[in-house]
C-alpha cells in the first residue's frame, strides 16, 4: 500500500460491506473502449528519491539570491518576513477549501476581509475583491467590467507602456468578446503621449488602461490621464505591476479612477518562475454589483457576534452562471493571506519604508549611470521613476551575459518582449539591493558595456 492511502485491511472490509468482490467491479460503468493499461509513468518513489529529482531541477536553475540581482519587469524581489511563510504553512490555512461554510472558516474569512481592506487602503478606493489570478488577468477583468458597464462601446485604449504580458493577455480575451484594443504611443519622456491619448479617445471607448509606474519604470501623469478618460466617458483603469510603489505614489483612486488593479507580487511573494502571484482589483462602491470575483463581508451570527461571510455571490458563476461578472472560481486565496501577513508586519511605517528604500536605491543607480560615461545611458533621464528604469544599449543580451559571468543579474532585456520597445535593459532595485551590489553593477557596466 501507499503512504498516502489507507491499507489493505480497510479495502477488504469495505468491499465486503459494499457487497462487491473487487474494486474493479465498481468501475463497471466505464466501457472497455475508453479503458487504459498501466500508465506510462515510473513506479512510486520515496521522499528521498523525489527530493533527489527536484533538487536536480533546482540546481539547474540560476538562483537570483546567489547573484546581485536587478531583475524586475513585473516580478520583484523584496524582503520576505519569515513569519509569513511559517503562518501560511499552518494546515488550517493551506489545507482548507474556499470558505463556503462560514461557521468553520472564520479564520480564512476574516483574513480576506483584512486583505480587502488593505487593497482599499493602498488604492484609495471603496471596495476590493478577495483576489484574482494575477496582474494580467486583473487588468482583463477590469476591461471586461468596463465593457459590461458600457456595452455600446467596443474599444479599449491602453497606454503603450502597459506590461507586455498584461497586454498580451488582454488581446487574447478582447477579440472573442468583440472588443478592439488601441495602444497609445509612448512619448519621448517614457510617458503616455497626451496628444496620442486624446486622438485615441472617442465615444466608442469603454476604458482607458494606464500602468504606473509603467513597464519602462516611469511614473505616469495619472491625474491627466484620468481626466482625459473621464471626459471621454470611459472608465479609467490604473494598472499596477510594482505594488510597493503605492507606499509613496498616490493611487488612481485619488484621481477619480474607476478601477485600480494589477499585481501584488512585490509584497514578498516568491517569484516562483512566474506564479502563483496575486491579482488584485479595487473599484468604487457604485460598481459593486459589477465587481468580478469573490467578496467577503461583515455580518453577525444568531447571537449578534461579528462574523464574516462570502457575500454578494449573485455576481458569481455558481449562482449567475453564464451571466456572472467573471468565470473565476478558485482564486489566489493563500497568496492573498501571505500578502495580508506581510502588509500587517510592514504596517504603516514599513509600507512607506520599502517604497522609499527601493526608490532611493534606484536613484543611486541612476546617478551612478549618469556619471559612468560608458556605453549605457538612461532612456528617460528627465522623467521621474520609482524603482526601475530603462538603460539603453545596443546589445542588451550580450551585456547581460557578461554581467552574469561576474555574478550580476543586471536586469531584463527588452528584446524578450514583442512590440517596438527601445533596445536596452530594465533595471529594478529594491531595499534588498545593498550599496555594494549597486556598486558592483555600476562597476561592471562601466567595464563591460
Amino acid at each position: 500500500m501507499h503512504r498516502y492511502h489507507a491499507g489493505e485491511r480497510d479495502r477488504l472490509a469495505m468491499l465486503e460491506s459494499i457487497g462487491a468482490a473487487s474494486v474493479d467491479e465498481l468501475f463497471a460503468t466505464i466501457p472497455p473502449e475508453v479503458r487504459c493499461g498501466p500508465l506510462d509513468l515510473p513506479p512510486a518513489r520515496s521522499e528521498e528519491e523525489v527530493r533527489r529529482e527536484f533538487w536536480s531541477y533546482a540546481t539547474k536553475n540560476a538562483e537570483p539570491e546567489c547573484f546581485a540581482s536587478f531583475l524586475g519587469a513585473g516580478v520583484y524581489r523584496h524582503v520576505v518576513p519569515s513569519v509569513a511563510d511559517a503562518l501560511i504553512q499552518r494546515g488550517e490555512f493551506f489545507t482548507a477549501y474556499t470558505p463556503y461554510q462560514p461557521e468553520v472558516s472564520q479564520g480564512t474569512l476574516q483574513a480576506i476581509f483584512e486583505f480587502q481592506t488593505y487593497v482599499c487602503q493602498l488604492t484609495e478606493l471603496d471596495v476590493a475583491n478577495a483576489s484574482l489570478y494575477d496582474g494580467a488577468t486583473a487588468v482583463v477583468e477590469a476591461v471586461l467590467m468596463a465593457q459590461r458597464m458600457l456595452p455600446a462601446r467596443g474599444r479599449v485604449v491602453v497606454a503603450g507602456a502597459l506590461h507586455p504580458e498584461f497586454r498580451a493577455v488582454l488581446d487574447t480575451y478582447a477579440a472573442p468578446m468583440g472588443m478592439s484594443v488601441t495602444a497609445v504611443a509612448t512619448g519621448a519622456d517614457g510617458r503616455v503621449d497626451a496628444a496620442g491619448l486624446a486622438a485615441a479617445l472617442g465615444p466608442d471607448v469603454c476604458a482607458v488602461v494606464v500602468q504606473s509606474p509603467n513597464f519602462l519604470g516611469v511614473i505616469e501623469d495619472l491625474p491627466a490621464i484620468g481626466a482625459a478618460a473621464k471626459s471621454a466617458g470611459a472608465l479609467a483603469i490604473h494598472a499596477v505591476a510594482e505594488a510597493t510603489s503605492l507606499g509613496i505614489l498616490a493611487p488612481g483612486g485619488r484621481f477619480g479612477f474607476d478601477v485600480v488593479c494589477g499585481e501584488l507580487q512585490a509584497f514578498g511573494i516568491p517569484p516562483s518562475f512566474g506564479g502563483p502571484h496575486l491579482g488584485f482589483f479595487a473599484t468604487r462602491q457604485d460598481n459593486l454589483r459589477q465587481l468580478p470575483g469573490r467578496l467577503c463581508g461583515q455580518t453577525v451570527d444568531t447571537q449578534g457576534r461579528r462574523a464574516f461571510v462570502l457575500t454578494l455571490s449573485t455576481r458569481e458563476q455558481h449562482i449567475r452562471r453564464g451571466r456572472a461578472t467573471s468565470n473565476i472560481c478558485t482564486n489566489h486565496g493563500l497568496i492573498a493571506l501571505f500578502a495580508t501577513i506581510v502588509l500587517s508586519l510592514l504596517g504603516k511605517r514599513g509600507v512607506r519604508e520599502v517604497a522609499t528604500a527601493s526608490h532611493s536605491t534606484a536613484e543611486y543607480l541612476k546617478a551612478g549611470v549618469r556619471s559612468l560615461g560608458s556605453g549605457v545611458r538612461l532612456a528617460f533621464p528627465d522623467t521621474p521613476t520609482y524603482n526601475e528604469f530603462l538603460l539603453l544599449h545596443d546589445d542588451p543580451d550580450g551585456l547581460l551575459a557578461r554581467l552574469q559571468s561576474e555574478g550580476v543579474l543586471g536586469g531584463v532585456s527588452t528584446t524578450a518582449f514583442p512590440g517596438a520597445l527601445p533596445r536596452g535593459i530594465l533595471v529594478a532595485a529594491t531595499e534588498k539591493n545593498s550599496r555594494q551590489e549597486c556598486d558592483r553593477l555600476l562597476d561592471a557596466l562601466r567595464r563591460l558595456s
Binding site: 460491506s17 498501466p38 499552518r90 468553520v104 472573442p176 506564479g275 444568531t302 512607506r352
Partner: protein, 491 residues
C-alpha cells in the same frame, strides 16, 4: 467579560494597532535616502497611509494563529466536499516548492538560466499526457475555470481556422457554474441541455441541437457531477465530430478514473485538469490552483504560447505557433503548483495513481451503501467517486440540506457540497476522497445517521445548529443587503 471570550474573539488586525509598534525592520539603507518630494512631482505622491496598522511581530503571529484555529481543514479530518476532491496535501510537496532554486527563480531569466524549471514543466506535461492520453498539455491556466476558458478559446480558434464562426455551446444542466461562464467569456452563447431521468447526458437532445450546425462544442463533466460515468460520452464525441463540433471535458472529476480510463480514448478535444483536486496541490482556503488543459491533436496548433519544447537535451520556450490563442495569463502558469503536482505524481507513481482512483471510488461507494437507508438518492445510477443524496427523506420534518450540514459541524465534520448540482434539489454531494481510512468514514457515517435520527426526533437540534463552532449561523441577508466589505476607522 465572559469565559473564553479572549481566545474566541480576535480583533481585526487594524483594531490591534497601537502607536509606535513595528512588525518588521528593513535592512539599513546604505545609499543616500532620496527624498521623493525632490525626485517626483508632489501631485503624484502620497503621505503615510494612516490606517495601516502598527503591530509587533508577536501581534501578527498571534493574530493569524488565532484566526487559523477557527478553520476546518483536511489536516484535521474528513472533508467530504463533493466536486472539490479534498485530499491529503503531502508536506514533502510544500518542502520542494520552497526550494530556493525553484521558488526564487525569476520568469524572465534567459532560458539557459532556467533549464531546471523548464525540465520540470516538460516532465509534468509528459506525465499529464500519460494520464489523459491526449496529444499535448498547456500548463498556463491558473485554475479550472481558467482552463475552461483557454480550452474554449482554442476551440474558437480551431473553428476560425476553418473559417467558421459558430456561436452555440451545449452544456448539461448538471454542469458546474464555471462552464457556462467560461463559454460566455470565450464569446459563445450557451444552450443548456436538460439531463435525462438518470441524470446523464440526453444524447437525442444533443443530436437535435447539432442539426442547427451552429454548435461549436459540448462541455461535459466526466464522471458527471452526480459521480456517474456518462455512458454516451464516446457516442457524443463522435456525433460532435461528425458535425464539426468539439468536445470539451470538465476534468474536475478526473480523480475518479486516473489509470482506469483516458479522455484521449473518449474523443475529448480539450479538458482541464484541476491540479488542486486530482493532483493534490493544496486548496489554500481558496487557491491558488492550477488548471492545465490537455488537448487532442486538432487543438495543438492553437495552444497558448509559450510552450516548453525539448530540443536535444535542452529545453526551450517556444512562441512559434501561428494558430495560438495567445496568452491567458502572465508568464507560464502557476509554477509553484506545478512543482507540487509533479512531486505528487512521482510519489504515487504508476500504481499509486491507479490506487488513488480505486480508493476514491471505494470510499464513495462505502459511504453510499452505509447511508442509503437514511438519506434519499435522487439518482440511483452507480457512483464512482462521489454520491449525491438529497434532503427529501428529511423534508417532512421541515429539515433542509443546510440544516443537516450545519448539524454535521457540531459533530466535528465539514459538510458535503449543497447547492450543486442544480438538478438535485436539496443536494448533499459527498466526495470522501481516497485519503481517509475506514474509521474516519465510519465516524462520519455515524454522525450522518445520528443526524437522520435527530431530524425525526428532535429537528430543532438541526435548526439551531451549529452550537459548537466559533460562531453560529450568520445573517447572510444582512451581509448582502448592507454590505460592509472593509474595515474603516470608527469616526
Amino acid at each position: 467579560m465572559s469565559e473564553k471570550s479572549l481566545r474566541e474573539r480576535e480583533s481585526l488586525i487594524f483594531e490591534r494597532s497601537s502607536g509606535g509598534r513595528v512588525g518588521y525592520q528593513l535592512p539599513a539603507l546604505e545609499v543616500p535616502a532620496a527624498d521623493p518630494a525632490a525626485t517626483i512631482p508632489s501631485g503624484l505622491l502620497r503621505g503615510e497611509i494612516d490606517d495601516l496598522p502598527e503591530v509587533s511581530e508577536v501581534d501578527v503571529v498571534r493574530h493569524f494563529t488565532r484566526l487559523s484555529k477557527w478553520n476546518y481543514s483536511v489536516d484535521e479530518g474528513l472533508y467530504p466536499l463533493g466536486s472539490c476532491t479534498m485530499k491529503y496535501n503531502p508536506r514533502i510537496n510544500e518542502e520542494l516548492a520552497r526550494l530556493p532554486g525553484l521558488a526564487q527563480v525569476h520568469p524572465l531569466q534567459p532560458v539557459d538560466q532556467v533549464q531546471g524549471a523548464l525540465a520540470l514543466m516538460w516532465q509534468l506535461e509528459q506525465a499529464l499526457i500519460a494520464v489523459t492520453g491526449m496529444a499535448r498539455v498547456t500548463l498556463q491556466p491558473a485554475a479550472g475555470a481558467h482552463g475552461e476558458l483557454a480550452g474554449m478559446l482554442m476551440i474558437r480558434k480551431a473553428l476560425e481556422a476553418r473559417g467558421e464562426r459558430r456561436k452555440t455551446v451545449l452544456i448539461p444542466d448538471s454542469a458546474h457554474g464555471t462552464n457556462p461562464a467560461s463559454a460566455v467569456f470565450a464569446g459563445f452563447d450557451v444552450v443548456e441541455v436538460a439531463s435525462t431521468a438518470e441524470g446523464t447526458l440526453d444524447l437525442p437532445a444533443v443530436a437535435r441541437h447539432l442539426e442547427g450546425g451552429d454548435v461549436a462544442a459540448l462541455m461535459i463533466t466526466v464522471p458527471n457531477t452526480l459521480g456517474v460515468f456518462e455512458p454516451d460520452i464516446v457516442r457524443a464525441a463522435a456525433m460532435l465530430h461528425d458535425r464539426g463540433g468539439y468536445l470539451y471535458m470538465d476534468g474536475a472529476n478526473l480523480n475518479a478514473f486516473v489509470g482506469v480510463a483516458q479522455p484521449g480514448k473518449m474523443g475529448v478535444d480539450a479538458l482541464h485538469i484541476n491540479l488542486h483536486k486530482t493532483f493534490s496541490t493544496p486548496h489554500g482556503g481558496g487557491g491558488p490552483g492550477a488548471g492545465p488543459v490537455a488537448v487532442s491533436a486538432a487543438l495543438v496548433p492553437h495552444l497558448p504560447v509559450p510552450t516548453v519544447e525539448r530540443v536535444g537535451d535542452r529545453f526551450e520556450l517556444s512562441s512559434d505557433r501561428p494558430g495560438t490563442i495567445g496568452k491567458v495569463r502572465g508568464f507560464y502558469g502557476n509554477f509553484g503548483m506545478l512543482v507540487r503536482a509533479l512531486a505528487y505524481i512521482r510519489s504515487l507513481g504508476r500504481d499509486g495513481l491507479r490506487r488513488m482512483a480505486d480508493g476514491a471510488v471505494l470510499n464513495a461507494n462505502y459511504v453510499r451503501k452505509a447511508l442509503e437507508a437514511d438519506y434519499h438518492l435522487a439518482y440511483t445510477g452507480p457512483s464512482l467517486h462521489e454520491v449525491v443524496f438529497d434532503d427529501t427523506a428529511q423534508a417532512a420534518a421541515g429539515i433542509k440540506n443546510v440544516d443537516i450540514a450545519k448539524r454535521l459541524l457540531d459533530y466535528g465534520f465539514h459538510p458535503p457540497t449543497m447547492s450543486f448540482p442544480l438538478i438535485v434539489h436539496g443536494a448533499l454531494m459527498i466526495e470522501p476522497g481516497e485519503s481517509d481510512g475506514v474509521e474516519e468514514l465510519d465516524a462520519f457515517i455515524s454522525a450522518m445517521k445520528a443526524i437522520a435520527r435527530e431530524a425525526r426526533e428532535d429537528p430543532a437540534l438541526l435548526k439551531g445548529a451549529p452550537t459548537t463552532t466559533p460562531v453560529s449561523r450568520l445573517d447572510e441577508v444582512r451581509a448582502a443587503r448592507q454590505p460592509v466589505l472593509r474595515w474603516r476607522r470608527a469616526p
